[in-house]
Symmetry: C2
Subunit: 207 residues, 2 copies
């Protein structure tokens, strides 16, 4: 079993594919974080990237609530996490909550793809963080009602992911055995034929 | 007004920010495409990248229906596009439709973030395409009912974006003036203070 954070990081890299952006292959979602803080400058750089995510009608429906360790924002986000995520995420120096406005600003119509576009922005966030030697672990496991109440989020905003951001740490410090096992397990994904189709019934693979 | 495709491409690049991945800054969504086909090898490379997008419980809820120009799949997707999008998207050599399974495969429970995760996969697609010198233009503007019927997509799948993929072309070939104007207009985004917050009521900017 790999011992150091560096060994785990190396082991988690997806196999190189000719022409695929290394950042896409090297991004992964650790649960072990070091205590090292993320600088305000680095946080800003990450959001300078997020800005340029694509969105329907260029609405940019995403908002990110960002809390650094010790802040009230951090505590509120941490309090809303599911108990399993609370076990590890409280070590991350930054916790965030992504929300999206479900109505278009230009005409008030429903934005069917608000959550989709928040997913786009959050992915840019994770990739940019990875490219900077940071790691972002997104969680769907949090209590939306609690988060909505804690931040008085208006009903017209929908929740995406909670995000732990920081520097990947030593897996040995994870709170229990099962979490350690997952942290050092090989990453798996579907084959192309399982999700690249020409039609529904035949589900014919393209490549 | 910039004349060539190359000039437009250069002009559309977001201003360089120290430390931000160039691919994130250079990705944009053209409407003008050349007739040049996308090779099967390049399509495969793009989906080798998409595979590694993050998703809740590693469900990978995304499926992509992929049609190359002249195919039945392409025709069906094109037929489902809104008239405005039909005016330009039919020049792209590849049309795709992203859908996501809204129930988890491991237990059948609803997947609240299926659309969010499809947004993640579609963003990886667009960034990888951009890194390869291709361009992906995502559209929310299509008739979902028509698309669902044309491909017999089961109800438990939700639609994300239709995607035109190809090589950016000469804007002068766009079908009308307004489209040409948009194609060569500067890209705009919100400032960080508009979407990076510490709390809701104060909406205090972090950076």
């Amino acid at each position: 079993m790999p011992a150091s954070a560096a060994e785990v990081h190396e082991m988690k890299k997806a196999p190189a594919v000719d022409g695929v952006l290394p950042t896409i292959l090297h991004r992964w979602s650790p649960r072990a974080f070091t205590g090292r803080a993320v600088s305000a400058k680095d946080l800003k750089t990450i959001f300078e990237a997020v800005r340029w995510a694509p969105s329907s009608f260029n609405e940019q429906p995403w908002r990110f609530l960002v809390g650094t360790h010790g802040s009230e924002t951090y505590r509120k986000i941490h309090d809303a996490l599911m108990p399993f995520n609370q076990m590890w995420a409280g070590k991350a120096p930054v916790l965030m909550l992504g929300v999206a406005k479900t109505k278009f600003s230009h005409n008030g119509d429903p934005n069917r793809v608000a959550l989709f576009d928040l997913g786009a922005a959050s992915t840019v966030l994770a990739l940019q963080a990875s490219a900077m030697g940071l790691a972002a672990h997104q969680m769907a496991g949090f209590d939306e009602d609690a988060a909505r109440k804690a931040f008085a989020v208006p009903d017209e905003y929908i929740f995406g992911s909670a995000i732990a951001l920081g520097y990947q740490g030593d897996p040995a410090n994870l709170p229990h055995e099962q979490m350690l096992k997952q942290e050092v397990a090989p990453r798996t994904r579907k084959h192309l034929g399982e999700f690249v189709w020409k039609g529904w019934e035949k589900a014919a693979e393209l490549a």
